[in-house]
């Protein structure tokens, strides 16, 4: 049994008197895919924000590969191997799709410190960027401005950028939100293939239960900032409290239509 | 002892005057999320309008104190409706650029209308003398500024803590998302807040007129001072504006007296020190990149 890649103990975030995340303990093993589910406001994004360094935890500890990363700034945590996507697309809108990935790659390789090269002649990085785009199946869009491609493609582009810093741990925040059913199927297939390649460890938050049950090795159910239940997809499906607290609520909610 | 006493009083009247102006800057920033670079120019306009009303029209000082700030507020409504409305939905940089353009326009207009020379406004008869206080003679007008400053301070405190409108404004200044959630960014509120900020600048201008000589550079000086005040106190924080204004008042009150060689530099040194240790100001929070 190998050591966990991420160990979280007693992680808590309070805003004023309100706890957004409260006393979460979690271990993530290398190469597994762990889904975090819970209704809106359950604290999933706040949880991500703390792990990725966007917010300081009020209490608790985050260890990555045995190293304490609690409260480090985002760029340091990213350097140590945690990479994340956002619920709202977070790309460089005025650059081409390929350049979006090139920026991340030149950051990763340290080319970003070069003042006197010509970026557009950096063929090594360009080839690599196209490879990442191919992996996500969007390489034919490489010359387009990122702001004009479809919503779903933007999400895939962001995943390509997330993967380009060769992370040990990938946090995806609702990767299929707002996608058409077709795009959702495509994205799920892609993430599944990436997970099965054995190169990545994924943390995924997701509203679409089909996607969750399709991808996850384990599921953490959050409710009002707390750990409600953690277990295999089977256990989660059959857990009575989870069914009422979350899965039941899911059925009441109208199925989100694609909004692109 | 008497030196310190009068330096303290001097600090207090400078500080309260700065507070009135800086708090206007803060309110506009808080609700509209723009720094009004023309705020100092509006202050100057208040002073020059008072000069015209008193010296040209022959009105009493009290009437000018009432009318000139209203004039400034009306101009602010026009600026808001004609120019600023184009850029509220745009990037922050555009609002900075546009208010900077307005600053250039007002500065040069003042130079055209009133000339580049120095103008003087006399304090009203009643306030032109001096009184014995703390063992030294103090200009009555200085005391008047302190009294008006304290009245406005109390009024603003009441507005921000005891009225619904004020509480919303204060909350919005600290948390923009909440401001949007409460839907307070309606046109009326935006224009109203901008005009109110300008009104405060105008009041500051009229009050300053008998204390300082009027020249077309006076707005530039005060906007820099206001920036220093809000940076020291914390952008968007009202107690911060008071604190920052008092700190700067003390720097001026004592610096001018005891360190005349470097007195122009002291406010900046104070600001740099605060930035070094408390980047968001003594009472500010949030808003990093």
């Amino acid at each position: 049994m190998s050591n966990p890649i991420l160990t979280i103990t007693n992680l808590t975030k309070r805003f004023g008197g309100v706890s957004a995340v409260s006393k979460i303990d979690l271990e993530v093993m290398p190469k597994e895919t762990l889904a975090i589910i819970g209704p809106n406001g359950a604290g999933k994004t706040t949880f991500y924000n703390m792990v990725s360094g966007r917010m300081q935890p009020t209490e608790g500890k985050i260890m990555l590969d045995g190293k304490d990363i609690t409260g480090l700034p985002p760029h340091k945590i990213s350097r140590l191997g945690v990479s994340r996507s956002f619920q709202l697309n977070n790309i460089f809108p005025e650059m081409t799709v390929q350049e979006n990935v090139e920026v991340v790659l030149s950051a990763y390789h340290g080319h970003s410190r070069k003042l006197f090269n010509i970026a557009s002649r950096n063929t090594g990085i360009q080839t690599e960027a196209v490879e990442y785009l191919k992996r996500l199946g969007i390489d034919e869009l490489k010359g387009q401005r990122a702001e004009v491609i479809s919503y779903g493609d933007k999400r895939l582009l962001e995943i390509a950028m997330v993967l380009a810093i060769r992370p040990k741990l990938v946090l995806l925040d609702e990767p299929t939100a707002g996608m058409t059913p077709d795009e959702t199927r495509r994205t799920t297939r892609l993430i599944k293939a990436l997970a099965e390649s054995g190169d990545y460890t994924f943390l995924i938050t997701e509203h679409d239960m089909d996607v969750v049950f399709d991808l996850a090795d384990r599921i953490l159910v959050m409710h009002r900032g707390e750990n409600l239940f953690a277990g295999t997809p089977e256990e989660v499906k059959n857990h009575p409290e989870v069914r009422t607290a979350y899965l039941g609520e899911e059925e009441d909610e109208p199925v989100e239509e694609a909004n692109t | 002892m008497s030196g310190i006493g009068s330096a303290l009083l001097n600090s207090l009247d400078i500080g309260l005057l700065l507070f009135i102006i800086a708090v206007g800057l803060n309110i506009v920033f808080g609700v509209l999320n723009i720094i009004n670079f023309a705020h100092g120019a509006l202050y100057m306009l208040g002073a020059y309008l008072a000069f015209t009303l008193i010296n040209m029209v022959g009105m009493p000082f009290w009437a000018a104190l009432l009318l000139a700030p209203i004039g400034v507020a009306i101009l602010a409504v026009i600026i808001d409706r004609v120019l600023l409305r184009f850029i509220y939905s745009r990037d922050v940089a555009d609002s900075l650029l546009l208010t900077f353009a307005i600053l250039l326009i007002i500065n040069e207009s003042v130079r055209m209308i009133w000339g580049s020379g120095i103008q003087v406004v006399q304090p009203p008869q009643l306030l032109s003398g001096s009184v014995q206080l703390l063992g030294s003679s103090v200009a009555t007008y200085s005391l008047f500024v302190i009294v008006i400053g304290l009245i406005l301070l109390a009024g603003l405190w009441y507005l921000f803590n005891r009225t619904r409108v004020g509480r919303i404004m204060r909350a919005a200044a600290l948390d923009r998302d909440m401001a949007e959630a409460l839907c307070i960014n309606t046109r009326m509120v935006v224009t109203g807040v901008f005009a109110f900020g300008a009104w405060l600048a105008g009041v500051g201008g009229v009050m300053a007129a008998p204390m300082r000589a009027l020249d077309p550079g006076m707005g530039d000086k005060i906007i820099i001072e206001s920036f220093i005040v809000v940076v020291i106190g914390g952008l968007g924080s009202f107690p911060g504006a008071l604190l920052g204004a008092m700190v700067l008042g003390l720097i001026h009150g004592f610096g001018g007296r005891y360190l005349p060689e470097v007195n122009l530099l002291l406010p900046f040194v104070g600001m740099a020190l605060v930035l070094l240790f408390k980047p968001h100001g003594i009472m500010g929070k949030g808003a990093t990149t």
Binding site: F116 | F100, E261
Partner: protein, 315 residues
């Protein structure tokens, strides 16, 4: 095809610039000297504004310090001109490091206020530190000696000085251009569009902003070093915020999205200033109105608007 036309136009402009002293009167030699120097000043500003997305209202601090540095070295040490320029760049870089360190940490509203305030601080120093800066009169009465590098140039001759300025501005622009097109420049553009994504790619955005700020300050210092012998004085006006407004306006006027935008802006600005000040004193008023109109209606600047229009025509 498109790039060929562009290169042809550029070559024509450069040939024209070289030929100015032979085809035009001294009046225009002076005007073009000013255009080039202010163009470099504006281009250095645009590295932080147009590329990195930081709006500074205190860029004149570096321009002014550069001009004071050259004036001081000429008065007290009589070094060759090239050495003066290096001192100007060094002094401005150092100042930019200090001001930048305190200013780039916060968001763009703070950044705009702080750069303005610190810019005025430098103005206050120049005004008050009479023994070194000669107060409000500024430093005058210096004259240029040799150029350096063993070149025998009569710098006192406006035509010669114009050619020197043209050469230095050209070299500086090429360096700036390469920086803009480099991997580093690409990161700066990325920071303008989305700083958060850049920091989640593992880069310290603050450091990159600071480096850009120092580079911009250094080149502004170089422009300042060139302006002092041209104006024959280094005065506090060069440090005042109305001087900081000039590169802002030039960049906006020409187009912040293009490397040559600030140079186009500088040309239009100087020609307009010369024309307008010939019949009114209120140049700043016109400046304010133009700035307001550009910001509201032509945010892409003259170059951007022209290119958009050209694209429309071609369709």
């Amino acid at each position: 095809m498109k790039s060929k036309i562009l290169m042809a136009i550029l070559a024509l402009v450069i040939a024209g610039l070289i030929a100015v002293p032979w085809i035009a009167s001294y009046f225009y030699v002076f005007i073009f000297t000013e255009i080039l120097i202010l163009g470099l000043f504006a281009a250095s500003f645009n590295l932080i504004f147009g590329y990195t997305g930081m709006l500074s209202f205190g860029h004149a601090a570096f321009f002014g310090v550069g001009s004071y540095a050259t004036a001081l070295v000429l008065i007290h040490l009589q070094w060759p001109f090239l050495a003066c320029l290096l001192v100007s760049m060094g002094a401005s870089a150092l100042l930019a490091l200090v001001i930048g360190f305190l200013s780039v940490r916060l968001n763009e509203v703070y950044f705009a206020m702080l750069t303005l305030a610190f810019g005025m601080m430098v103005f206050a120093i120049a005004y008050q530190w009479r023994s070194v800066t000669n107060g409000s009169d500024g430093l005058a009465g210096f004259s240029l000696g040799s150029f350096g590098l063993g070149l025998d140039l009569t710098l006192g001759n406006p035509s010669v000085y114009y050619h020197v300025v043209l050469g230095i501005v050209a070299i500086a622009s090429i360096v700036l251009y390469v920086i803009c097109r480099s991997s580093f420049g690409m990161i700066l553009k990325a920071i303008r569009q989305n700083p958060e994504r850049v920091s989640f790619a593992g880069l310290n955005v603050r450091t990159y902003r600071l480096v850009a700020f120092v580079i911009a300050g250094t080149f502004a210092g170089l422009a300042g070093g060139l302006i002092a012998p041209f104006l024959r004085v280094a005065s506090p006006e060069l440090l005042h915020w109305s001087m900081s407004a000039e590169p802002v306006l030039m960049a906006i006027l020409g187009g912040t999205g293009y490397f040559l935008g600030p140079f186009v802006g500088s040309a239009v600005f100087v020609l307009l200033e010369t024309w307008i000040t010939s019949f009114t004193e209120s140049w700043m008023l016109v400046l304010g109105i133009i700035l307001a109109l550009m910001v509201i209606f032509f945010r892409k600047g003259l170059l951007g608007t022209l290119i958009d229009w050209w694209m429309e025509v071609k369709k």
